[in-house]
Structure formats: structure tokens, C-alpha cells
Symmetry: C2
Subunit: 210 residues, 2 copies
């Protein structure tokens, strides 16, 4: 098993944090995204969609979505469970993971990829060039603010996003917060004390620096 | 357990087909989306995001993403497995489910919701109003064509999307094809013989009419 990885961007980080929480150790191969190595012919054989990370399984199968990679890691390293301990808890974590992907992660990505000059013509990851839509960048920023509000509401009275256990939902949401406030400079609004309390707690875990 | 459901739109259909393949039987409650019942105060208590379907579990937990609902049904009705029979197969199905959601389902939804006059101010589902972006509708249509190409390539030499077993990926992709060609009138391009052969096969299953 091999993990094609690169430090900095949010997607590979979601896998590294997951793996650190599991105490798992996998051979890592660096793919220099900053120099465009993901578009090389060699890497296209590993992932025709040209995204990083990729998990290459022992049978040669290559998996590139964060969700699929982390679920596979959950099977290989079952402890501690990060996708839930019982069907009802798993259902809520899966629900929140979906929500975080669509309304958090993709909203920040829309804001960034439809505005940054260095991403002109690259508004969507993948092998095809797609032009930026400035209105979509603006909409993405607005959606991130809504996402912060929703997350704050969910965290009221909860230590973590789903109840009392740290999970894949917390990893996803923490990376979204860092992606938004760090890389895309979307400021977290005043208030939102639940969100801020939760963020301090999850960001202090040793895995957060993975 | 209760399924809040409505005939017609693609999302509830993905759950009904999944359930039909399992031979499962759940109490259904109709939420008339055409008349805006999903925005009623009563339904907001069940799902503050105002989307249908929702699966209400016996402990009162309400789950609203298709992915989380179908994974819960997989736990309740394990046979036949629709999320894979072994870790490697599950990894590929999860990977394709993600791909189909982001590049298929969301592309068609972008095309529809950013152009249809009846959805003005409702470019994204949820409790908040979001204005349409006409350029995004156009981009969505283009992305659906890319999606058809990618699916055709994946189906070369495969009976189903992941190998020889019908799975949640086939359900998702079939519903995307019907959503695109039926509701949004995006024609399937010439050629793409693998996609067309596969579509005929999956659409002929009794579950397709669920």
C-alpha cells in the first residue's frame, strides 16, 4: 500500500490526520503539486483525474476520493473507529461527512478556484480545463459563512460534531475551517462560540499537525 | 423507521431503488415537494435543510443525505451487498459513488437549478435562498457530457461500474442519466456504446421503476 501525498493542500491533509489518529504507517510518495507533477503522464496512469492524494492498494487498485480512502483505512485500522461505533452513530457521521463535503469543502474550493489568478482555466480539478466563474467565487464565500453558522448550531451542547466521539466529521470540518480561514482568507464571523470552542479543541490534537 | 419520500425527483428515487434491490419494506410518508411541503414548519423539524428524502430511525434520528441513508439500509439489510463484498471492492465502489455524486449528480443539478425559471432564487437546495448563475448552468451541462464520456470509458470491459457486481454506483449513475436526459434534456452524445449497453441493462431491472 502506498499513499501519494503532498504537504499543504487540504485534501491530502484529511488523509494524513485520519491516519495519524489510527496510528497507521503507510509508505508515502510525494507528488509535487506546486510544480504540476500531478499532470505528468506517469501520474495520470495512477490517477487519470490528476488529484492528490491517491491510495494505491496492494492489488494495484488506485483510490482517489478522500471518502473512499478514509473508509478503506477504517477497515485496515479499525481502532479507534472514526466512522462510528453503532449503526445510528455511523448514520449521523456519514450524514455530516456529506454535509461537510458539499457545503463546507466544496464551497471553499469554489471560492478559491473561481478567483485565484494562478488557477485561471482550472476552476475544477481534473484532467480538463474549466474557466473560472467570478460569481461562483462570491457565492462560495457566502456559503462558507452559512456553513460556519450551521456547524456552530450543531456543536451546541455537543463536544464533537456527532455526540461525544471525535470522528471523520471532525477531521473534515477542521480542515475546512483551516482551508477557509488560512488559504482563502475567509474570516470567521463574530460570535459562533461553539464553533470556536470546538476548533480549539480539535486543532490541539497531535494529529492536527500531520 | 420511516422514509419521507416523493415520486419524481432523483434523490428519493436513489433510495427507493436501493431499497427495492434489498427487498426491504419501510413505512413511507409522502412530502409533496411540488407544493412546497418541504418548507413547512413541521417538516423543518424533521430536516432543517428542507430536502427529501429523509430516513427517520427508530430512535428519532433523522438522516437526509442519500449516501448516509443507503449505507444505513446496507447495515439493516445486508443482502445483497450494494457497497461491495470485500475491502478492495468497497473502496472502488465508494470511489465511484463519490465521483458520480460530484461529477454527475451535482453537474446535472447545477445545470437545472441555475436555469429553470421555477427555481429562480433556489439555485441550491436548503433553507436559504441562493440566486441562479447562468454561466454555472452552462458549465453544468458541459460537465455532464464529460461525465458520460468518463462513465463510458469505465464501462469498457466491465458489466457494471465496478467489475461484475451491480452496486450503489450503478444506482447512482443510472439515476444521473435519467435526471440529465429526462428532466434536464441533455442529450446523450453519439457513440458511447458501453454506456448505452450498460444503461439498457440496469434500466431493465425491476428496481428501476421503484
Amino acid at each position: 500500500m502506498k499513499l501519494y501525498d503532498f504537504p499543504g493542500p487540504p485534501s491530502p491533509r484529511r488523509v494524513r490526520i485520519f491516519l495519524a489518529e489510527k496510528g497507521g504507517d503507510i509508505e508515502k510518495v510525494s507528488v509535487n503539486i506546486r510544480e504540476g507533477e500531478q499532470f505528468s503522464e506517469d501520474f495520470k496512469k495512477i490517477n487519470p483525474n490528476c488529484t492528490v492524494p491517491v491510495l494505491e492498494l496492494d492489488d494495484g487498485t488506485c483510490i482517489s476520493s478522500i471518502d473512499a480512502i478514509n473508509r478503506y483505512l477504517e477497515e485496515i485500522y479499525p481502532e479507534p473507529p472514526l466512522f462510528g461505533r453503532a449503526p445510528e452513530e455511523r448514520a449521523q457521521i456519514n450524514d455530516w461527512c456529506h454535509y461537510i463535503n458539499v457545503n463546507g469543502f466544496m464551497a471553499v474550493a469554489e471560492a478559491l478556484r473561481n478567483s485565484a489568478p494562478r488557477l485561471a482555466g482550472r476552476a475544477i480539478t481534473g484532467s480538463r480545463n474549466v474557466e473560472q466563474i467570478p460569481d461562483l467565487a462570491e457565492r462560495g464565500r457566502q456559503r462558507v459563512l452559512y456553513f460556519f453558522e450551521d456547524l456552530d448550531k450543531q456543536l451546541e451542547g455537543h463536544e464533537f460534531i456527532v455526540g461525544d466521539n471525535y470522528s471523520a466529521a471532525d477531521i473534515g470540518a477542521m480542515v475546512v475551517v483551516d482551508f477557509a480561514t488560512g488559504m482563502v482568507k475567509i474570516e470567521m464571523p463574530e460570535g459562533l462560540s461553539n464553533l470556536k470552542r470546538w476548533y480549539q479543541q480539535v486543532a490541539a490534537r497531535p494529529s492536527a499537525s500531520a
